[in-house]
């Protein structure tokens, strides 16, 4: 699975290179930069390189699973490798136009990570407005690919734990696997009947429809604790996830779909996660909450250059309000994950709800901005 993921990441960066700004006859640099990641440090071998194709070799020398990111302004992801297990080394090949970036290691795959400034030097022709939108869809497609890779990986692990009868491991993996699903939910929802099969809730089903997917396994794990007959459901979930990932990776969202997706992810939070309806047996709703917000932020980040050109004040407001949501949410962190929905008070939920509404209102104006000329 890891090999496949790495290949998709690489092919995505090559795609980016084709669409990127590097059309002038600049010599691209192929100098490899080593990154030594531990649980407390992120030593990047160089803080500056020539614009073009850059390769980072990330060695995880810590005890926690880590991730490595290269961000442009506003946390727009230029490239990332996820799930680097302790002792392993992975490459990130990324196309960086001239500009200022940040590198980040995320030991434990949580939080903002250990950041450092990173600069790509040289010149690059600025994108035209339409090119910025085209770039947005390419950037977002890359994000989808990275998430779908992890989605398959973690869902397969989750299903294996279910089939092995390992209730404790399955319970621990359930919210982790869902994180990757929830980050890209608007993409998944395009593929009508697969979404309910994977993520349907019992009360949403029509009479005669079979209850399958994550929430069926959630019910088995938390409500009855008996997963001796859950094997076929777990197999079907993995098969369905593979099908939807294949579809997602061959679909490119339009800039308008991106904008609406960013809003829909927050609507998901406002209607399903705040109320605890989504994960009603496990109460792990805050994992989904965080993933929805991250997915929304990724979509906005992809649109950022286009939005900056059209309404910089809106971009600044979205930055502030994303930060407010993240700050409210951080108060409920528990270890590498989150508190249970049932551990939050009504006042906690009201605060989160207010912050989501404050963010979702301006985000609802992004689609019109993207559509405007």
């Amino acid at each position: 699975m890891r090999t496949t993921r790495l290949l998709t990441a690489v092919s995505a960066t090559l795609l980016l290179a084709a669409c990127g700004a590097n059309t002038q006859d600049r010599q691209t640099s192929d100098g490899t930069i080593t990154v030594a990641a531990t649980d407390t440090a992120c030593d990047v071998g160089a803080a500056e390189t020539a614009a073009g194709t850059v390769t980072f070799t990330v060695a995880n020398k810590g005890s926690k699973v880590t991730e490595f990111y290269v961000y442009a302004a506003g946390d727009r992801i230029m490239g990332e490798v996820e799930n680097i297990a302790p002792g392993l080394s992975r490459d990130l090949i990324v196309e960086l136009p001239a500009g200022s970036y940040e590198t980040a290691c995320k030991p434990g795959m949580a939080g903002r990570g250990i950041r450092a400034a990173f600069t790509a030097t040289g010149s690059a022709a600025p994108l035209t407005d339409d090119a910025k939108l085209a770039q947005a869809t390419t950037d977002y497609q890359r994000y989808v690919k990275s998430q779908t890779g992890a989605l398959i990986e973690k869902t397969t692990e989750f299903a294996a734990a279910v089939k092995a009868g390992d209730v404790a491991s399955a319970k621990a993996l359930f919210p982790v696997a869902r994180t990757y699903w929830e980050r890209i939910e608007p993409v998944a929802e395009i593929f009508g009947d697969l979404d309910p099969a994977i993520d349907g809730r019992e009360n949403d089903l029509e009479p005669g429809q079979e209850f399958t997917g994550y929430h069926r396994l959630e019910k088995d794990l938390w409500e009855t604790g008996d997963i001796s007959a859950s094997g076929p459901t777990a197999d079907k979930l993995v098969a369905d996830v593979h099908r939807i990932v294949d579809l997602a990776n061959t679909t490119t969202l339009s800039p308008l779909q991106l904008a609406n997706g960013a809003k829909e992810l927050l609507d998901e939070v406002a209607t399903g996660k705040i109320t605890g309806e989504e994960d009603r047996y496990s109460h792990t709703d805050l994992w989904d909450f965080a993933a929805n917000v991250e997915g929304s932020r990724a979509a906005i980040a992809a649109l950022r250059p286009a939005l900056e050109a059209r309404d910089p004040a809106l971009v600044a407001m979205l930055d502030t309000r994303f930060a407010a949501v993240v700050a409210s949410l951080e108060a409920h962190r528990a270890g590498d994950g989150w508190k249970l929905h049932t551990e939050l008070t009504d006042a906690d939920l009201k605060r989160l709800s207010d912050d989501i509404n404050a963010l979702a209102e301006p985000i609802s104006t992004v689609a019109a901005l993207v559509a405007s000329k």
Binding site: K350, S353, A358, E361, A367, A368
Partner: protein
């Protein structure tokens, strides 16, 4: 665009048609004003206080969640513009419910398309928490502008207040003859305010329980009694001046021409009241149920004779009767302008109506008006057996806006 013009109607004749469609039957004793008409938004005092009480209420209290004064002020400016538009029967925003770009959510929510202004008034007030938070911090640099009269109300005996539906930093009272118009107004203001304010609680009301104009008949509350017979009325100019409007020198200048608002949600224990004898009901209130006449008189507006004794030597109007304890003579002449509404929030889990009176009173100074009156009532009123005060709030409602270059709260924040 006027909302009703979307239906393809235009001009004065069309306005008449729309209004006639909205209200087909008018009681003969109702004033002959057009219930669809728009009321002026600008004036020396805010509309919605002495305005003849409309039939419907949506009242909302907000918590301010921003820490930035600038954000709060610009929201108040946006609110004022939307309020001026909506009270004129227009959409909340300039593009309207269907006039914007298709990719954007409309800047008006649309449920009032085709409805006339319906006498909508929007009245704003500021609560004590806007000035200092619970920890005493000066939230927006206006702590020194809090009027002394705007202090949290004392706890009254028998209070059963739910903090979740009490208090609030800012309130807006929406009154209209059509409930959809009132709800539309609050919904749009809440939406405009997202990120700056958050709805703390809101209340729907119907069937005004007070007349605020001599032209209006006295309505009934859910106990079946006429309510507000002795209310301050719009026509009593000198009494309004004495009891309703804040004078220069009463407190900070920004409140001159304003009024203090107290709201109390008073749940009625309907089922036990309904099995109380007529004689006892009338004795508790001190008035007859049919005409609303004091027990010492023959007609509604007869002045109660609080000294009158019956053949048994006891007062005709009992010492614990509601009308006696609330009477201005018991409080140095203090009077209130009441503007309450009945409410029914469905039923509770025991099958009882969750219903009562949403009490609204405006006054010049609650320390000399609402507080002493309520203290007397809370201690001794025979009605207390049948009511519970479940929510309470106080707000300072500034004077009206003279013209469109002004906005709600400008005198407070500048």
């Amino acid at each position: 665009m006027k909302r009703r013009n979307i239906l393809g109607l235009a001009g004065a004749g069309a306005a008449g048609i729309a209004a006639a469609g909205a209200v087909t039957v008018r009681r003969r004793d109702e004033p002959a004003t057009d219930p669809g008409a728009a009321l002026p938004f600008y004036g020396a005092h805010q509309a919605g206080i002495v305005t003849p009480a409309q039939d419907r209420l949506h009242f909302v209290a907000f918590d301010v969640i921003t820490r930035t004064r600038e954000d709060l002020v610009s929201m108040l400016e946006a609110w004022t513009a939307a309020a001026a538009r909506m009270t004129a029967g227009r959409d909340a925003g300039t593009h309207g419910a269907v006039g914007g770009v298709p990719e954007a959510p409309p800047d008006d929510t649309g449920e009032a398309i085709g409805l006339p202004a319906s006498g909508l008034t929007l009245t704003i007030g500021f609560g004590p928490g806007l000035f200092r938070d619970a920890d005493g911090r000066d939230r927006f640099g206006i702590a020194d502008r809090r009027p002394d009269a705007l202090a949290e109300l004392p706890r009254f005996p028998g209070d059963a207040l739910d903090p979740a539906i009490s208090g609030g930093d800012i309130c807006v009272q929406a009154c209209a003859h059509d409930p959809q118009v009132a709800v539309h107004a609050i919904r749009n203001l809440a939406r405009i305010g997202m990120g700056v304010v958050s709805v703390r609680w809101s209340q729907l009301g119907f069937g005004r329980t007070s007349s605020t104009s001599a032209g209006q008949p006295t309505p009934r509350n859910l106990f079946g009694f006429k309510d507000g017979t002795a209310n301050l009325k719009a026509e009593e100019a000198s009494a309004l001046d004495e009891h309703l409007w804040v004078h220069a020198g009463d407190g900070p200048d920004w409140m001159t021409g304003g009024s203090y608002l107290v709201t109390r949600k008073i749940r009625m224990i309907i089922e036990t009241w309904d099995r109380t004898s007529l004689r006892e009901q009338e004795a508790i209130v001190g008035r007859t149920k049919g005409d609303g006449a004091p027990l010492t008189g023959a007609a509604e507006f007869d002045e109660p004779d609080l000294a009158a004794a019956g053949p048994d030597g006891l007062p005709v109007i009992a010492t614990d009767a509601h009308v006696r304890l609330a009477h201005p003579s018991a409080h140095g002449g203090a009077r209130l302008l009441r503007r309450g509404y009945n409410y029914v929030d469905g039923s509770d889990g025991l099958g009882r109506l969750d219903a009562g009176l949403f009490f609204i009173a405006y006054q010049r100074d609650p320390r000399r008006q609402f507080i002493p009156v309520q203290t007397a009532l809370a201690r001794r009123d025979a009605l207390n057996e049948y009511i519970r005060h479940v929510s309470s709030a106080i707000f300072a409602c500034p004077p009206g806006l003279p013209a469109a270059d002004d906005f709600w709260g400008r005198s407070l924040f500048s």
